[in-house]
Amino acid sequence: MTKKRISFITLLCSATLAFSSESMDDLLRAFKSESELSKITKSESAGFLDIYTREELEKMQVRTLMDVLKLFTVPNITRTSNNINQFTKPTFPVMPPYAIRLYVNDHDMTSASFGSALMLWSDMPVEYIDHIEVYKSASSVEFGNEPGSVIIKLYTKKPEREEGGKARLAADQRGSTEADLYYAHTTRDGLSYFFFANADNVNRKTYKNLGHELDADNHAQSFYANIFKEGWRLEGGSYRKVKDTFLGLGRAYTPNDGEIDNRHNYIQLEKIYDNGLKIRAGYDHLDSYEKESDDSKIAAGAAGYVTNYALQLHDKIASLIAEKSFTHANGKLLVGGFYKYKGLEAEGEFDSRSTSFTNALHLYSIYLEESYSFNPTTTFIGSFKGDYYRYEKQIEAKKEHILRAGLIKNYGPVQIKAFYTKTYYAVPFLYLYGPDNTPYKVNPKLKFPEPTLTSLGVRYKDGRHTVDARMSLITVKNKVLQKRDGTLFNNPKGWYHQYELKYSYNFDARNSLKMDLYMGENASGLTMSPKYGGHIQLFNSFDKVDLYNQIGYRSNCDFYGVNIDPTYDYTASVKYHVTKDLSIGLRGENIFGTGYRQSYARLPYSMPVFDRKFWLNMEYLF
């Protein structure tokens, strides 16, 4: 008994001593770590959550969102033949882009033409982003707005924590260049502002197919600003990206020429009242222009196969959102609603045939979510969202809804999360409406796909170790597929399973390890994208040096008759802090050139998704 008491006191004293003997440097570092904004913004009840903290992003020396998307387990990032980034779920071909939603702060980066603007923003610069949260097996109820099962939320840096600026210059071995600049200030009367500007010119490796050059170079400019005072926040962004179309859309991938020019401007005004009421009004304008020329001919719906293909899309989106949280003794109730106008203008030139049309959607939505804690360790989440789609032309109005029930239970170091989500994805305009059936053979009678997700996750967190095991069983009614002649149709039912295992270990405040493994399988039994994969990430700091190592693995797959062997991507970076405010860094991507590959219909070999790159960069804080 006495011995036990002594060991108890010894532990108490040693823990107290450990606590009190921290140096000021350790305390400041720990304070910074504990004050990470992600700890304030994250929502554990919204799904399975992965966070990329500011410290991690800085050590990784990420330039664009793509550097983070590469690390996604489910789904995996890839690129289409015309150089657009999309996702695949393990064993599945390309996922519908409208299933994945991207938010910057609380603004949904949406599109009328494609449903989600992630295809444009997937390569956005992230120097102005503080941290990234990824919610899987989610619904959008908690975040309001349009439905999706993977929600990527980016949060911008806070002016009150920056109070100053940063300039960053980067260049790679292929002659690419990039410049970033941001500045933030808070005035004495409480007005704070932040602005960011970026320009880049990225050269990518040129390949050849049947004597034709396959270019994928791109250049972009972006701007973001916000002003905040007394609960009002006005923010806006602009992003323009022009890129070559790589293999293009031709039947034999023999492009004569090809370019995609996308731009997106948005503005949002938000007011958060002390009583929990939030009101947001936003306006988005997107222009997308794709032109291609290929003698092997490009499919253009009813226009048949054409040599010259040009499509211009103009989206105008206005939204008004109001929501309020009611806190009660056992949790909170969120009630909200929004109206969104999504207008589309399309113009196309396909050899001698042209098309021009407009349509608009009025989307009305109400939603509510109850988080009820039965006791300090057990929380129930119930959500409902009702959406009404009314189109101005030809497409029938639709009533859709989302239902979600979840339970979060904590047993000491173990947390169990279970969710059942019945949701849907809104099919974008371009698949539903087009009076000339050009460039797509549209189907106004398409039903919206209706996935049902049953998910279970277990987290074990003890001291420095965290283990996460997750599984999701998904059935999809009315999945949208395309026949050989290009006609779109609904597949009655399919299923899909996915599994993730994650482990992280914090050696100390500056050194950590993260690992993950994933797998998936689908009803067809086919393996059209890697079935298994995983990553190892190692974050280290020694004195003035930050080191980062990342290994990614994707298993073999067989797509369009092309077998792709297992691929390994090794990426590493080193940063030297010359002073507190000046640093120089080197980031090597796909260092051994053995990284991820993608195959395409009718191409007898696979192509790399990412280049081997070495970025040298210099950062200065002022």
């Binding site: 036990k4 108890f8 532990l11 108490l12 823990a15 107290t16 450990a18 606590f19 921290e22 140096s23 000021m24 305390l27 400041l28 720990a30 304070f31 910074k32 504990e34 004050s35 500011r54 840096k157 009150e160 924590r161 920056e162 109070e163 100053g164 940063k166 808070t186 005035t187 004495r188 001291g463 405010d581 804080l621």
Partner: protein, 140 residues
């Protein structure tokens, strides 16, 4: 059961929150500025920070700044012109009083900063322990 209590106590002791870390930082700062005082009287202009200081041993938060040994300012730019020791809890206050205050703890450039000003420390006859010497700046 006892094992569980041991684990819980260890977890409590080793757990951290921004407020706990901020308390540890201010405890170190105040002990360094007033090594010999039995009770340190602190006046704050930010009521949200009161809970952080009230739990520091030897510290008493006072409502009347005239009774204070140190004024910890977050957003006050107009304080009595007496010779009280001032410490900034925000960047704007630090900039405003940098000719007079002994130091500041504030967010800037995306990181928490701790700075003491040599000349002003000397004016108040304050000698910091060696562990804090690296945070002393000659001239701001």
């Amino acid at each position: 059961m006892k094992k569980l209590i041991l684990i819980l106590i260890s977890a409590l002791l080793l757990s951290a929150s921004p407020a706990e870390k901020e308390r540890s930082i201010y405890r170190t700062i105040l002990n360094a500025i007033f090594p010999d005082k039995a009770v340190i009287h602190v006046w704050l202009d930010n009521p949200k920070k009161r809970a952080i200081f009230e739990k520091i041993k030897r510290v008493e938060v006072v409502n009347d700044h005239k009774r204070a040994d140190i004024l910890i300012l977050y957003n006050s730019f107009d304080v009595p012109a007496d010779n009280k020791i001032i410490f900034a809890d925000g960047y704007l206050v630090f900039e405003h009083f940098k000719n007079r205050l002994v130091g500041g703890f504030y967010w800037q450039k995306g990181r928490p900063n701790l700075v003491f000003i040599k000349k002003n420390l000397k004016d108040h006859n304050i000698s910091l322990p060696p562990t804090l010497k690296e945070y002393i700046e000659d001239d701001m």
